[in-house]
Symmetry: C2
Subunit: 271 residues, 2 copies
């Protein structure tokens, strides 16, 4: 075990020293927005730290948000989800989707920058998820399971959200009226990023962002630079892998595994 | 109190007898999908029950999913969210957005039909939410609060989700690996529908939908017809109104108001 940890530390160091491949996926309609400014801060820091950075700027690319059968090429399968898998295997997915799948495979880490709109991603970023994470690439269906939740096509990669939230922090706290921000992000963290095998790092969330003053921006940018520099070393959220013995054959958490008093989404985080 | 309840019953009966205005918002790229078939079943039953139905078929309309400044017309406000409010007040929102706002104001009930993709709405429907529910119509910002959570522009209307889910029910149950489906839907139920004032009815969720056989389809359609006929009478989920005294000035739930053992999203449902 000690040897394993030592080796893991060595490998981590190597990655850090050599620099990682980082994919930044960014969604805001205005480049002069807070989200846009924070994306620029993060990218500058990542490059200063020796990482190679590629940017998927969804609005600038005119990214198509709505998944439809035009994405698949000539595929006969009538079920929409299964058809995306047929197209993936046949290599007939549209070029914009294949380019993003290649970027994900290239990346050692993925950072998603977006404003929280109606308690979720902007539609254009949801459309990046819907269209790029196709059947047979990111998930199995129709009786063909693929490894998921801690294993899968993107295993070994790190993922982190940088999220701007208009409302104040207390209203997103444990007892806040909007719901805890960690629970609001669970479907993204656990349901998208961890599902495909990625190690999910704690999110960088900025609250109370409407009319954010210059002084607070400087503080936030300072914090974000620090977080970006920690990207190779940060401890991931300890979600439970599907294959680790915590779930029964119905994929329910085995009784007694949870933290005392835990319920809902919190069941799926180990201590 | 008895008189009030009697009056409320009378008023309800009136609405039922006269028929309601029902807006069906539907998102699936394939008309021959399960989601499409269930939408047709629901619409037929609603019309048979004497309701007037209008349908927003997002894929058929080629709905634009990505919110951007083209939606606003000539607006100088640099903040994107606030700009949507300026455009709303000036009447310069794009015609597709104004048409959907008018439909929402026309409706007594709104039913959203969609498949659960990556634990949320398809991007095209998220884009309907992002673009139609603008600042100053659906929410306040920049120091101008509007009534919300149980009050707001859509108060008095009923809302219900009809959702197709590929995975099996146990994996979406209280201890299921995907998280409880009610928690996954909370950001839509509470954060979008209840936020704008609507009474949110329990969702109609169909699981294990890939290769659903004809026999199961008949059972599901039967259940859905029954649920549609109950639309005017169903008891809403008892979310806590923001203005009802349950929240303090930081918008945190006052200690002791919760159900014994409740945490997370469940705090915001009264017994």
């Amino acid at each position: 075990m000690a040897e394993y940890l030592f080796l893991r530390t060595l490998l981590r160091r190597d990655v850090t020293k050599a620099g990682m491949n980082v994919l930044v996926v960014y969604a805001h309609p205005k480049p002069d927005s807070l989200t846009g400014a924070l994306k620029d801060v993060a990218v500058r820091q990542l490059r200063a730290d020796g990482h190679e950075v590629r940017i998927t700027d969804l609005y600038a690319m005119g990214w198509k948000a709505a998944a439809d059968t035009d994405d698949f090429g000539p595929v006969a399968e009538p079920n929409f989800m299964l058809a995306s898998g047929v197209a993936y295997r046949a290599g007939t997915l549209s070029p914009d989707i294949r380019a993003e799948q290649e970027k994900l495979l290239w990346a050692d880490a993925v950072v998603l920058h977006f404003p929280l709109w109606w308690f979720g991603m902007p539609a254009i970023m949801k459309g990046w998820v819907d269209r790029v994470l196709t059947c047979d690439f990111a998930y199995g269906a129709g009786g063909k399971a693929l490894p998921r939740y801690g294993a899968g096509v993107l295993a070994g990669r790190r993922a982190m959200l940088v999220v701007s939230v208009g409302g104040k922090q207390p209203s997103y706290s444990d007892r806040g009226i909007n719901g805890p921000v960690d629970d609001l992000l669970f479907p993204i963290h656990h349901g998208i990023l961890y599902y495909t095998g990625m190690d999910v790092l704690p999110p960088f969330v900025v609250h109370d962002t409407i009319r954010l003053g210059a002084e607070r921006f400087d503080d936030v940018a300072h914090e974000l630079r620090r977080r970006m520099s920690e990207l190779p070393e940060l401890e991931p959220i300890r979600y439970r892998p599907q294959g680790g013995g915590d779930y029964d054959r119905s994929l329910r958490l085995v009784p007694g595994r949870e933290e005392r008093g835990a319920s809902g989404f919190a069941l799926h985080v180990a201590s």
